[in-house]
Symmetry: C2
Subunit: 234 residues, 2 copies
């Protein structure tokens, strides 16, 4: 497989700027086929506006985008894609629309079995996991099941932080993930801090960026994983 799963899209440098060098190897030659954008995690921005934002961000890579929401036949569009880009936003909205359009299985097959490069950030990284059970998003719409693409055998928690606003009595992220691990003891979760990403090439996984990721599994204490090659099954 050929995946790049980012914790986040924006930084002080601008939209996707921190990740452009990581994205470059996934960008297809123009003749290979279109780079297809999946905008369905977008809720408060329109899908047209989301497409324009990402198209502008990817322009330095010579990558031309076609957003799936404008395709007359989304499945046919996906079949032609030479790169699929799944943007962040609300994970429930993303899964709802991907499922509604019948794209879950064809997307899984093209990426897992036929090597279609997959770029996703935030909700788009969650979608690559077995389920969306480790999203931070509000369940604003019922996606009719939490199963997702299952491209990797573990979960991602994007925007990972253990910060806690003073006076707040709600759960910390670490507490939320401990709840996940209590109910799902056999599924590891990788907490990806802002500015980091996961590169999957074939069966090898590497952590990109300048911060440690954290591996949560069952009742074990979270394990810090430094950038570089990860000993995770893919």
């Amino acid at each position: 497989m050929n995946l790049l799963l980012l914790s986040n899209s924006s930084s002080d440098a601008g939209y996707l700027v921190h990740a452009l060098d990581w994205i470059r190897p996934l960008v297809p030659a123009p003749a290979a086929g279109p780079a297809v954008f999946v905008p369905f995690a977008g809720v408060t921005r329109t899908w047209d506006a989301y497409e324009a934002l990402v198209a502008q961000a990817m322009a330095p890579l010579g990558c031309e985008l076609r957003s799936l929401h404008r395709a007359a036949d989304a499945r046919a569009e996906l079949a032609r894609a030479a790169l699929v880009i799944v943007g962040g936003g609300n994970t429930f909205n993303l899964l709802h629309h991907v499922r509604r359009l019948g794209l879950l299985e064809p997307l899984r097959a093209r990426v897992r079995d036929h090597g279609l490069p997959y770029l996703g950030w935030s909700a788009g990284a969650n979608l690559a996991c077995p389920t969306i059970r480790t999203t931070n998003d509000m369940p604003i719409i019922d996606p009719a099941g939490f199963d997702a693409l299952g491209l990797v055998p573990w979960q991602i928690n994007a925007h990972y932080t253990d910060a806690h606003p003073p006076g707040h009595r709600g759960e910390t992220r670490r507490q939320r993930l401990a709840e996940f691990c209590q109910v799902n003891p056999d599924t590891p979760v990788l907490g990806l801090p802002e500015g980091t990403g996961l590169r999957i090439e074939g069966a090898a996984a590497s952590l990109l960026g300048h911060a440690d990721a954290y591996l949560f599994r069952g009742q074990s204490a979270p394990q810090a994983l430094p950038p570089g090659r990860l000993e995770l099954p893919v």
Copy 2:
């Protein structure tokens, strides 16, 4: 109806201490029937430990608790209850078990149609809403549908805050609720800050505590609602 829906359980004063005076009017006379505790939002604490914690907190009110997880017949136990207490934790776990035990409809009927007093905090306040779509919790388990008790016609967002840890690129709470309102424009949401609660008596709703709540609806700017009688339909 006779409801008390709290944003949170714990404060610097201790567990439920800030709310004891609000809870007092709901506590039944000992002969009226048991106060039944619903512990299913608890995930990382055992239900036995959760029952003990809440029993101790309620002891000053002369209220004896029976936790539903120890009942041989949960529906029969609920039918005898003179007060139902739904604790916080993970809303998905709570709804999953309430639905699994077939308690959603009987609980709704007893509270809505027969005046059973209902005390809930955090996830237990979410459960009183039409759906759990405004929970802050991680979807660690699929509850097989987001519909909840529907005791009130609007949504609650517990632990409401607009704080944002520095450097965090994820959504603020206000952004998350704006996403909810985009997808569900006809459903108002009441953001309840820490230390506040909602008292519903008959068709009258009041905000308890010392902070404003915030009403979110469609594309309107959030509206601050001061403590006291609320102009909300019940």
